[in-house]
Each structure stands twice: as C-alpha cells, then as structure tokens.
Symmetry: C2
Subunit: 201 residues, 2 copies
C-alpha cells in the first residue's frame, strides 16, 4: 500500500504488529487518530507504556499486580485456606467475574505439555508446594482446562501434593447451563449421565 | 470486569477507545503486550505518537504529508495539468494503489451534506478554484462517491468551475469488473445499458 507519508506508514505498521489487526484495520485506526486531537493519541499510548513499565507479578500467586503483592493476596477479607490453581491471569479474571469464589489463587503459567516442550519445571509448581507447606491451606481447587494436557497437569500436581494434608478438588464437570442438550459433546453428556446428581442439590 | 490491577485496567480502557475495539479485544491486546518484552510496547507507541505530533497537511492539496508539501505535489514526474478531486486521504491511497493515475490530487475533506450540516464553506473548495486559476490545469476529475451528496457536490463544483477554461470529467460508471450481472443493482445496470460502449474501446 502507498501511504505517501513515512509517518503514517510507520504508525500503520506499528498497529499491524498487534494480534488480530491487519493492515486495513491498522490504517483505519491510524486515520482515526489523525482525525482526533493529538491528546487522543497521547491518552492512548500513555497508559499502555505505563502499564508495561510498571506492572509487577505478585511474589505469592504470580498474578499481575501494581505492587509487590497483588490485591487478592493482600485482601484480608479472603479465605486463606483455599487456593484455586489456574493456568493464566485471564482465568483469574474469569473466576473473579463470577463472584462465586472468595479464596486465593495460584497461577501455574501454563500446563504440562510434552508436545510444546513444557515440563513441570517451567511452571510455578514449587512455589505452590511451598505455599501449601507454610500457609494453612486446607483445599486446592484445580481450575485447569479439562484437556489432555490439563488433566496431565492435575494428575502431576495431585501426586506432588499427595503427602501434604490438603484436600484436592476440581471444577464440577457436566453440561453447560443454558446449553442445548443435543449440541453437547458425547464425552461431556456421557459423563454427565454417569455422574448424575440427586435433583435439588 | 475485574482486573485486579489499575495499570491493566487503564491500558484496556485506552485500547477500547479505538473504533472497532471492544473490552475483550482490548484485554487480549493488553495481555499480548504483557507477554512481550517492554520494547514491543515502546515500538508500538513511539511511531503513533510521532505520527500524530509531526504529521502535516499539504498546503496545496490538503493531503497528509511529512513536509509542508506532500510527496505527490512535489513529484516532478507527475502531470500537473490534471487534478483529481477526492473526498478524503483514503481515496488518494485507493487511487494511487491502482497505478493508473499520474496527475495531482485535491482533497475536499468531505461532501456537501445538508443533513449533516456540511456546506460548501466547510470544504476545501476555494483552494481548488485558486489552483485552477493560477496553475495550468486543463482537467478536473471528480472522483467523488456517486451518492446523492456526492452528486450534489459534483454539481456545485462544476457550477463554480464553469467560467474557467478547464474540462470537468467524472469516473466511469457501470458494472464492476468480475461482478456477477445478476447481483448488480438496477440503477447501475440500467444506466450501463443506456450508456453502452462500442466493443473494443
């Protein structure tokens, strides 16, 4: 594409480095900023740069944080006897948005995946075991995706934690609320029948 | 959404001010930058800020430019006797990408639209007339969208230029290349039959 301006071309190329943003969208965003006062570009870039420069990772749970410890770990109102083990920051946000959980978290940073060359040493497993040993943790919730790699990770963690006096639980599995039964996959539906619950519980 | 970090929240909100980017995409972009080294965020923001601070508008044709005059107006190899009148910068890029035009341009900055309150005085019409008077312009191509507002603008411009010794042309209209005849709209198809061309021209 011919931009007739190096400045525009550089800005378009910068936007196009972002995932899911192609050259056409990048041009649209650039022309949008061009139509707006210069302050709009500044108030776009300033928080992004500030975020990347100042962000920290919580020394306890590896969550993103503005301080050395994250707002969840420092919250006195949370139940310190339960740790919910998740893969990534995004999972914490998803669980927090449900307003159904008041315990702490621990981010693994991924799942064990032999194909991608991710072994237990690449994940935040040692810090989890240390937390279980030192803090008064009674329950570990494995909130990890029910994929093959996820199940492998849960199995590995449960072996590592077997010696410690802690209860290990996983998220309930079954058909989704609001989902049509005919569209549920066979594995989920089959297991949902096998693990059926008494009505009203 | 609960971000557990003010820095992340601000960055997400900054991304979400861009057109076509919602909160979820903004979060994805923010987490992408978080996973990358800080230099990636800098090389995203730097060209954007630089573009917005340093961009100029060509004093002749109102095109975006790195200098006081744009690269098209300063190009000695272009035909100075033809001016192509367009609505916006994007139209120049589209025409330049065809590699079919070697004349100059003039950006109106929109079209006359009584509904949106845009009158002739809001557009770069006086500078166009000055150019036609002073430069040796032989032809004005009206490359304006064939909408009602666009046609009104072409009509207004042709009246304004009527006294001057300049030929006024418009883009050829008819069915699109590669288009299926049955999907062409009735107006275009009807006019294409009425304005049929000798084969081979």
């Amino acid at each position: 594409m011919n931009f007739s301006s190096k400045l525009i071309e550089d800005a378009v190329n910068a936007f196009a480095t972002l995932p899911g943003i192609g050259k056409k969208t990048a041009l649209r965003l650039t022309l949008h900023l061009l139509n707006m006062p210069p302050e709009v570009s500044e108030s776009l870039c300033e928080p992004i740069l500030k975020m990347r420069q100042n962000i920290q990772f919580c020394s306890t749970c590896h969550n993103i944080s503005d301080e050395a410890m994250c707002s969840i770990c420092t919250d006195k109102g949370r139940d310190r006897s339960v740790i919910c083990v998740v893969e990534s920051i995004r999972d914490i946000m998803a669980i927090e948005n449900t307003n159904q959980y008041r315990g702490l978290f621990h981010i693994l940073g991924g799942v064990i995946s032999p194909i991608e060359g991710i072994g237990p040493s690449d994940l935040n497993i040692n810090t989890l075991i240390d937390r279980v040993k030192t803090d008064e943790v009674k329950e570990i919730i494995m909130a990890i995706s029910p994929t093959i790699d996820g199940e492998t990770t849960i199995f590995y963690l449960s072996k590592q934690l077997a010696e410690l006096p802690v209860k290990i639980t996983t998220l309930a599995r079954g058909i989704s609320f609001g989902g049509e039964l005919e569209y549920a996959d066979e594995l989920t539906l089959g297991r949902s029948i096998a693990a059926r619950l008494p009505y009203g519980k």
